[in-house]
């Protein structure tokens, strides 16, 4: 992509999100200059007010679609982007704000805002993939900066990114982290969670929260049954699956199946 001095144009777009994922790019302190040397920043409001017109070679999209305006704007961005990569739990699953998907959004608006009639929002917060074609998804809440660099790196050098979709447990085992669930009985989502965070929680003796969402072929039913045998009640199990990536299909279904008391 970067032949004969041509600098690919990079754009970073924001939808419903906390900005944490875009900040991961600014957090690449040591590598940032190298990145800026290899790409032209076309649009990145967190970093610069300067704007370069599209089309863009690489668009990084942060955030979920949660308003009618979002739903329309994402199509414009897709049209201007050669490669569109979604970054973070919001963009790939709907984010923490997708907790509203399980309830009536009007009730929330009425409870929170003095003038709910000013609020123009969709009933559900949904991932970008539900609206336009996505070329690659980078998981995490927030994303991991090494994975972001690896993705940019691979894209710029025309190779496949090394971003595996297997379990968090593999990160534990390669690092030598002692399994928190087996040694303490605390419920850990790691066996069904996408690797990539760099083993943050388990290596601090904290079970995995699931920030990276479901891994490939996640058997949440079996893990939920094990949580039950460890003494977790149905409500606790529901809450375990219903957090940062609550709307990811596998986790949504598992939490819903623990919604009602068992007959």
């Amino acid at each position: 992509m970067a032949i004969n001095g041509y600098k690919p144009k990079l754009a970073v777009w924001k939808f419903s999100s906390c900005d944490g994922c875009q900040l991961s790019l600014l957090d690449c302190e040591d590598e940032l200059l190298a990145v800026v040397g290899r790409v032209e920043i076309g649009y990145f409001l967190e970093a610069t007010r300067a704007e370069v017109k599209g089309p863009y070679d690489i668009s990084l999209v942060e955030g979920s679609i949660s308003t009618p305006h979002d739903a329309e704007r994402i199509h414009r961005i897709r049209r201007q982007s050669k490669t569109l990569v979604t970054i973070g739990a919001c963009a790939t699953s709907g984010g923490i704000q997708a907790l509203r998907n399980f309830k009536d959004v009007d009730d929330f608006a009425a409870a929170v805002y003095a003038r709910p009639d000013y609020i123009d929002t969709l009933a559900k917060s949904t991932p970008i993939r539900d609206h336009v074609r996505v070329d690659f998804e980078l998981h995490g809440c927030p994303i991991n900066k090494h994975q972001l660099l690896e993705l940019l790196n691979a894209t710029l050098n025309g190779r496949k990114p090394n971003i595996p979709s297997y379990s968090q447990c593999i990160e534990c085992k390669r690092k030598g982290t002692v399994c928190v669930m087996v040694t303490t009985g605390a419920p850990c989502l790691g066996p069904v969670v996408h690797a990539g965070c760099g083993n943050l929680c388990p290596s601090c003796a904290r079970p995995c929260y699931g920030c990276f969402g479901p891994k490939e072929t996640p058997n949440t039913t079996s893990l939920a049954a094990w949580f039950d045998s460890l003494g977790q009640d149905r409500r606790e199990i529901k809450h375990l699956f219903r957090s940062f990536t609550a709307n990811a299909e596998a986790f949504r279904k598992e939490s819903e199946s623990h919604e009602k008391p068992q007959i």
Partner: protein, 372 residues
Amino acid sequence: MTPTPEYRKTRVVIDAAQLDVLIANLRAQGYEVIGPTVADGAIVYAPLSGAGELPAGVTDVQGPGSYRLEKNGTALFAHVVGPHAWKRYLYPPEQLLFRSVRQGRNLRINEELELKRYAFLGVRPCDIAAIRIHDKVFADGEYADPGYSARRQAAFIVAVNCTRPAATCFCASMNTGPRARDGFDLALTEFSDRGAPEFLVEVGSARGSQTLAKLKHRPAGEDDLKRADALLAAAARSMSRSMPSGIADAIEDHLEDAYWDKIAGRCINCANCTMVCPTCFCTTVEDVTDLSGDIAERWRKWDSCFNIDFSYIHGGSVRREASSRFRQWMRHKLDTWHDQFATSGCVGCGRCITWCPVGIDITEEARTLTKG
């Protein structure tokens, strides 16, 4: 046949203080001593600087999907295998194979060979069997792995026989333990039932013999030998788990069977079982570049047949179903491994049972298949 070397007949007894001397001597010889120590709620294998770091008076209580430590007695080796296996050191989870640097029109390639001399203290008999399996896989024939071979050749092995198996151990049925017959430089059997621990020492190599010579010891008496025999025989008898014989044939007879779908309902394909297994050796290769594309590195990382990409060939993955991945694991371990390496791929250490997050028990699954 070559006659048995004289040192093989050595039987002496040392006290616990000599372990400290042993560690110091090995370190003085340039070895990094790795052995069992308590960390993060488990007994792991980590660098040791003295015998004070051994898990004195700590034992492990293991079951399917469960591992806890308990205080008990004064023994230094009243535990068995834990979450780590020696492959961490002989065959590291992430290994740089080479780095290439582009300089103008030239490419320079550095092959990185990390050469560490390890002394492993507290290698259990099942793990000696596992290391020997890896020798066949990595250090045999024309395409021997240079990194593994070099680390393995340098490694000094102090075995510790098991007088107290865990509930998950089944080495007796795999003929790999609880006593090591060979494959060590020194082998210890701990006596801890009468006060301060003492160790019966056997010698397996000339360098083992030279190392032992520097330790204070007394010749073992007939009663010492009998005591060790009795402890190890009792340990073998106490094992509640076993691998059913005929498991290889049973798997061949059930290649297409509803059983695999049933077990796939429980298995999470998280790959923990293969990561902790001392004989599992599969890896993936990752090529990485820096942003400029001038520096490229090739890394080898532990991988597993439970991962979808593991069977990725042109057009997609061959084993997409969880059932086919579980079958691949069991069939390779317990069945086709015999054709490939003339041994079972399982040494009976029980790690996969303990560290499976949903407690799947390979012996129980094997029993289901042999009965069905």
